[in-house]
Symmetry: none
Subunit: 198 residues, 4 copies
């Protein structure tokens, strides 16, 4: 796993590697890892199955690479969203909107991070879990910045919010409320209580 040739040497790469990765991200996120065969990915990328292996060493490496990209993207969206905000609750709200929007509409890569459960792929379960953990640290910090009453656990507030958001792909219907409004609703349910000023 020291990187495939195309990644080591991206110059002459007619971005076919990206094509493969895109195909993998889409199929893995929509059908899951085990229901997606290398043949499926090859077909989607308009390649022959064997050709994938020029770009990626294994199915697991393909997932891992896509997953990393997913974490990068969702992290980037969240970081951008909160950059200009100072108010702790606003920051949490912006972060939640970015999280849910990326998760639900923006990118197959980001969906991967939520849809694929690390334990499903034992060989790389630990790395995947760590990557996600790393991303979620942002929410830990955001929640810790809130001024909460003493008897309120910031840990559970974080788990409550993140859990609820990560479960959203299960029930979310594209036709209904926008991801943004879902996030706002979640925050509204939590916010007023702990900021008596409002």
């Amino acid at each position: 796993m020291t990187g495939s040739p195309a990644i080591r040497n991206p110059r002459r790469n007619h971005n076919r590697s990206k094509q493969v990765l895109d195909a993998a991200a889409e199929l893995f996120s929509s059908q899951g890892f085990h229901l997606t065969s290398m043949r499926d990915i090859a077909a989607q990328a308009k390649m022959l199955p064997g050709s994938i292996y020029y770009h990626f060493a294994s199915k697991e490496e393909l997932l891992l690479t896509a997953y990393e990209e997913g974490v990068k993207r969702i992290a980037y969206q969240v970081d951008v969203a909160i950059a200009a905000e100072r108010d702790p609750w606003n920051r949490l709200e912006k972060a939640s909107i970015a999280h849910l929007e990326t998760l639900l509409t923006r990118s197959h890569y980001a969906q991967l991070v939520i849809q694929v459960r690390p334990e499903e792929i034992p060989a790389i379960a630990k790395v995947l879990a760590q990557l996600r953990d790393n991303y979620e640290k942002r929410f830990r910090a955001l929640v810790d910045d809130l001024e909460l009453p003493e008897d309120v656990s910031s840990s559970y507030l974080r788990l409550l919010l993140l859990g609820a958001m990560n479960w959203a792909p299960i029930w979310y219907q594209p036709g209904g409320d926008s991801p943004r409004s879902v996030a706002e609703q979640f925050i509204r349910l939590l916010k007023p209580l702990y900021s008596p000023s409002k």
Copy 2:
């Protein structure tokens, strides 16, 4: 899927069928559907792979049966828990405790309901989703019974709470807080706001 012999004649050797089902529930819930082979289940049930098919027509039927049992069990626990309560918030709390306790500690069958994502098994995805939906209606009713401020969406409150609880198996560590206390914390985070009298 017209039912296997043992299910048509449920009295006959009910034991062995249950043994198979137990094995399936345990393995499906701990490793997932796709990482569990019929051979694994047979081994755990101390049978040969072919023998399973006397009891269940297919891997999917095995999962479906176990899933149904899981829904039944968790539903029963919740129903019992709220039977004696009248206060809406107390009822929601008791239900949440029962939900989380069953989910996290009580039974492999119940874990199945959360751990197995219907879309993972396209052939029976709809039935599974419906079974879960049916169970979760309880929470719809419980939340609707709360007296909430007008600007608060009971739908999103339900989704927030259920999502957070269903995500718990991802981060829950057996050594830490008890499932009961997790549920109480979640409720405490939501409750005070809307019932300022308490």
Copy 3:
């Protein structure tokens, strides 16, 4: 490698396992391990490729089992051949005849022991080498029993004889001298010198 089902439970075995093993022994010994595919073996055994795996866990296990059988057979032939002999040179000659006859004509299993070089199959190279070594110990003992002049190394005499015989499959033509007569010639080339009586 704790033994395949059919070997653990040989009773009801309609000796299909043996059919597979026979096919493997023949093909491995005539074409070599790497030029023989599991599909080839299956075809020869009138089975489908997947069916082989009911009997043997892997291609390597198949080879190993056949190789063990080969060692057993050639060892048995040699042991029987020398059982009634007392004179050391006669014993060596009988052993050599048995060795070469089994090797060149009797059985694909025995040919395996010579035709397949352990290093060709790294995963089981050590076991194979040990099995052959174990067999060849017989010749060490037989040569040690000869009364040799002091300046003659019994080690090299053994290596000379065994090497020459094991090389025989390379040049041996079924139409020419019999294996027996080849062995006798080899012994005649070595014997007279060290038995001054002649």
Copy 4:
């Protein structure tokens, strides 16, 4: 197999071709033909797999070329070794020493001649066998020059000696006796008998 460009124009960049051939000789002789992939050879020669095909038309041609070189080298060593000798037994001894020394220590190319069994590569099996045969004719001549008793077959003496030597790579350990001394021992085992004068 009409020859690759580099072979048609052997002056041009002879270096790179040799590099490839060296890599092939080393890997083929140490791991065998089938366990060595073109990728392995390319890596060892610090090239990309596709580049090999500028120099050699196929894996088989690569082996054939290296094998020819091996035969040439071992033949040369033997020819040089016996050039100055007149006594038949001395000639045979010198030839054997040269044969074994080249085989066991001198060159991967020479080892190829012994380590690679022609039948392993059906497409060129005959050519390989012929090449080796051609080389071994030397020993036929050397043995025929010995003055042997009438009842001793010079053919079998040759097969005995050559077989024993060619089997040596199987048991030879670099730490032990030198190849020279092995060859001398073999000759000593055969010689005294037929030349009682010595």
